[in-house]
């Protein structure tokens, strides 16, 4: 990608960087190739590009200055938090500038009476909870990367986590932002007062992958920390029964704080890694966490246990104390690195399906896995139907990565056919541009482009991410089930 960059365009970006270095001070602008290297990819290292420069502003005014300079010169600008995106959302533009918000990491205010915190975009997710902890409050969305990832990045990706089913995504927990428009103006969307007048631009901004504006401040909702949380572990001899148990818990009117499932291969990989005491011969385990007041939790544990036993769980364990609760979760939380130990490489998918389709989709994935000769391990948020099939492969074997990507796209097609979506929480980024053409029609994609145009007519904010060009969809159309020019035309489709 780097070598193919248009030299004139790259020189233009360098000129903007030099101007910014004069205005903001040299320490704020990186142009040395070695200094740029750490920014060439995000959490999805398969996609890389060296930007022309990286700018690290220290204040909202400096952010505005960067946006203005890039907009005036027509230089692509890629905002970046901690770079933990798993879909290539923060991959630099080779002819553009990366705007790192890492230095804007102050918690500006914890407003206990209104139960909100005002933070700069570079504040880490967990740091918000740490700042709120002395008041008995916390910030609910807890993506796996919460130790590192930033609130600005969470806003861009509409990040979720284990607690989503009960406490919602970023969109439910960020009440306001201040952003810089591409015209270089500060605007405030939402706010502490509910239901800001006009269109809900805040809802539109959240999850827009840095393409509509640059966030300079976020106001997040804080919740009182639940007094009590306890977790049940249930083992099942087959996956459909475990899926049935999930549905019955929810039908009973119980919304667990977390409801997670792992299949047999995931259980064994995790057990080998963290020794959580999981039943390694089970076909599936469910982890069900209940939180609230001690009285509520007590009541719900009794009800959930009865449902699990009635569904035919062959074993139900209640974590006795905090230590055991952490142990039960450790396997789930370390499932990805655990899988990393049993395979040279793995590719993590991120589709969501209606829960009722769980058994059918997992069966479909198993059949595809066999047909492609690539093992798939399943770890997922059962409560909200967000699957994370991990495709195991070896990048050193010629053609295996391509087959893996092909299998990944097939899995996402299964999700869409089941009434689901191609990404539940990781975003589209660069990675899922082809899958977008599976989920959306030409008209819908054209509508997305029109919305982008309304905010960013010059298309300088994180260009070419998240929304594929129509030409690209037309090209990829040939790759899809409907096109009939598949590399594996004999495969069964379901």
């Amino acid at each position: 990608m780097d070598g193919g960059a248009d030299r004139t365009a790259r020189r233009r970006a360098r000129a903007v960087a030099e101007t910014l270095a004069r205005r903001l001070g040299g320490g704020c602008v990186l142009t040395d190739p070695e200094a740029l290297r750490p920014y060439e990819c995000d959490g999805l290292s398969a996609y890389r590009a060296l930007p022309a420069a990286v700018v690290l502003p220290r204040s909202r005014e400096e952010v505005r200055e960067v946006v203005r300079a890039c907009a005036e010169a027509g230089v692509p600008l890629v905002p970046r938090g901690a770079g933990t995106s798993l879909s290539g959302g923060a991959v630099p533009h080779p002819e553009g500038i990366v705007l790192s918000l890492a230095r804007m990491n102050r918690v500006l205010e914890v407003d206990v009476r209104n139960r909100v915190a005002r933070v700069e975009p570079g504040v880490r997710n967990l740091a918000v909870t740490e700042a709120a902890a002395p008041y008995g409050l916390y910030y609910a969305p807890d993506p796996s990367s919460q130790v590192t990832c930033t609130i600005g990045g969470n806003v861009a990706e509409n990040a979720g986590g284990v607690h989503c089913l009960k406490y919602g995504l970023t969109v439910h927990n960020v009440v306001g932002v201040e952003m810089v428009t591409v015209e270089g103006e500060f605007v405030r969307l939402g706010g502490v007062a509910p239901d800001a007048p006009g269109y809900d631009l805040l809802a539109l901004l959240i999850g827009s992958e840095g393409m509509l504006g640059v966030v300079t401040e976020a106001t997040v909702r804080l919740l009182p920390r639940p007094v009590c949380a306890r977790v049940l572990l249930a083992a099942f001899d087959d996956i459909p029964t475990a899926g049935e148990a999930v549905s019955r818990i929810i039908a009973a009117g119980i919304i667990p704080g977390g409801l997670e499932m792992m299949d047999g291969p995931a259980i064994r990989a995790a057990e080998d890694f963290v020794h959580a005491g999981y039943p390694v011969d089970a076909a599936a385990i469910l982890l069900c966490e209940l939180d609230g007041t001690p009285e509520e939790v007590e009541e719900d544990i009794g009800r959930v246990r009865a449902i699990l036993e009635d569904c035919g769980a062959r074993e139900v364990r209640l974590a006795r104390d905090e230590r055991e609760r952490a142990l039960f979760w450790s396997g789930r939380k370390n499932a990805f690195p655990a899988v990393g130990r049993i395979s040279p490489d793995y590719y993590c998918m991120d589709g969501t399906i209606p829960r009722r389709a769980l058994a059918r989709v997992l069966e479909g994935i198993a059949r595809l896995s066999e047909a492609y000769g690539l093992a798939v391990v399943n770890v997922f948020h059962a409560g909200d139907g967000n699957l994370h099939p991990l495709i195991l492969y070896d990048a050193n074997r010629p053609g295996e990565l391509e087959r893996t990507e092909e299998l990944g796209l097939r899995i996402l097609e299964l999700c869409v056919e089941a009434g689901g979506t191609i990404t539940g929480e990781h975003g589209v980024g660069l990675e899922k541009l082809p899958a977008m053409c599976v989920q959306f029609t030409r008209e819908e994609i054209a509508q997305f482009h029109a919305v982008k145009e309304a905010f960013d007519p010059g298309r300088i904010l994180n260009p070419d991410k998240a929304i594929p060009t129509l030409a690209r969809c037309a090209e990829l159309g040939g790759m899809h089930v409907r096109g009939g020019r598949l590399p594996f035309p004999d495969l069964e489709r379901f």
């Binding site: 139960r115 428009t181 609230g292 969501t352 959306f440 819908e444 905010f455």
Partner: protein, 356 residues
């Protein structure tokens, strides 16, 4: 009769786009007061109705926009579920599409979430007459820009809603309302203190010198919380009538009294505002209704100074807009977004602000 009129509605919009004729999408017409007057041809959605998908274990209901709200609520109640944001029922004719377009939420909103928080997906006709689907029927979905939540409160100015998928929640096992005798300032003070406690609150409304606290959830949790908040227990029937009255703007406060009716949204802990009139405080202080003869300009000034905004619920008056004016840079984004979805400007133009 339940029927799918999507194709016909889309055709109607295409025609209007070709002619440049403004259209006014109409559900049950119960919220006509909540916006500016619009000149145009009515586009009735009556008959475009029916619940097209409801699986209680999925916590999602999908229905056509013209479906009566009452029908949706009855279907949910039969399965022990409900709309968590408790939309105001402003009349029997109220439709699901109208509820989403108006974007109003009831007393449970600060704890359960607003209407837009429950919108999972929509099917709509944009101003070009194209039928588009955004979002879906699953909780977690970050594919593409979230144009479905954008429809909440857009009052049909960005698209004609055809179908809506909403997340639903279980009805609480137990509810109890406690009443504390406090003045407005005392109530706000008490609420700010309670905000840090993990209580199963589902309503906090102050009117006529009394703070009403609704607790909802597991039976044991409600009992424990009730002991903590104190006050008098309100009888079940009386409590249900009270919360319905607040939710549906049918409490005597809304029906009787002098002056125009205003809705002022504020940071919940904001102190009582220096505006003369009668007050009803809902949402733990985040939504305050005011009956007042004070000039609109002053009401908006005071609300804005306190970090909020004011909507006139008595309909438009000479020289007074229904909705709080927007700052120029935001209004510009609104206009361009409107043009992106409705390039011919035919969908309910001017309903929210001039040019939208």
């Amino acid at each position: 009769m339940a029927a799918d009129r999507s194709a016909e509605i889309a055709e109607r919009v295409r025609e209007a786009a070709a002619r440049g004729t403004p259209l006014i999408p109409q559900g049950g017409g119960t919220k006509a007061f909540l916006g500016e007057a619009v000149a145009g041809e009515p586009l009735p959605l009556a008959g475009h109705e029916g619940i097209v998908g409801y699986e209680p274990t999925e916590l999602v209901i999908t229905a056509r926009a013209g479906t009566p709200l009452a029908e949706v609520e009855a279907a949910l109640a039969a399965q022990g579920q409900m709309l968590g944001f408790e939309p105001p029922r402003l009349g029997a004719a109220s439709t699901l599409g109208g509820v989403v377009a108006a974007g109003l939420s009831g007393p449970r909103r600060p704890w359960a979430g607003a209407l837009r928080d429950f919108v999972l997906g929509v099917r709509l006709v944009n101003g070009r007459g194209e039928v588009l689907r955004f979002g879906g029927q699953v909780m977690k979905n970050v594919a593409g820009y979230d144009l479905s939540r954008l429809m909440a409160g857009a009052q049909g100015t960005l698209g004609v809603l055809l179908e809506v998928s909403l997340r639903v929640v279980p009805r609480p096992v137990r509810e109890q309302t406690r009443v504390l005798a406090l003045d407005a300032a005392g109530a706000l003070e008490r609420l700010a203190g309670l905000a840090r406690r993990p209580l199963p609150l589902a309503g906090a409304c102050h009117v006529a010198g009394r703070l009403h606290l609704r607790l909802a959830g597991a039976a044991a949790g409600v009992e424990a919380a009730a002991a903590e908040v104190g006050g008098e227990v309100m009888g079940e029937a009386e409590a249900a009538a009270f919360w319905d009255g607040v939710r549906d703007l049918a409490h005597p406060f809304f029906r009787d009294g002098e002056g125009a009716l205003w809705r002022i949204a504020l940071p919940p802990a904001a102190p009582p505002l220096p505006l003369a009139g009668e007050w009803l405080l809902d949402w733990g202080g985040g939504q305050r209704f005011l009956r007042s003869a004070e000039p609109a300009g002053r009401i908006r000034e005071v609300a804005a100074a306190a970090g909020g905004h004011a909507t006139r619920l008595s309909g438009p008056a000479a020289g007074v807009t229904v909705f709080h004016p927007l700052p120029e840079p935001i209004l510009r984004l609104h206009r361009r977004l409107k043009a992106a979805l409705d390039p011919h400007g035919i969908l309910n133009p001017g309903r929210l602000y001039p040019g939208l």
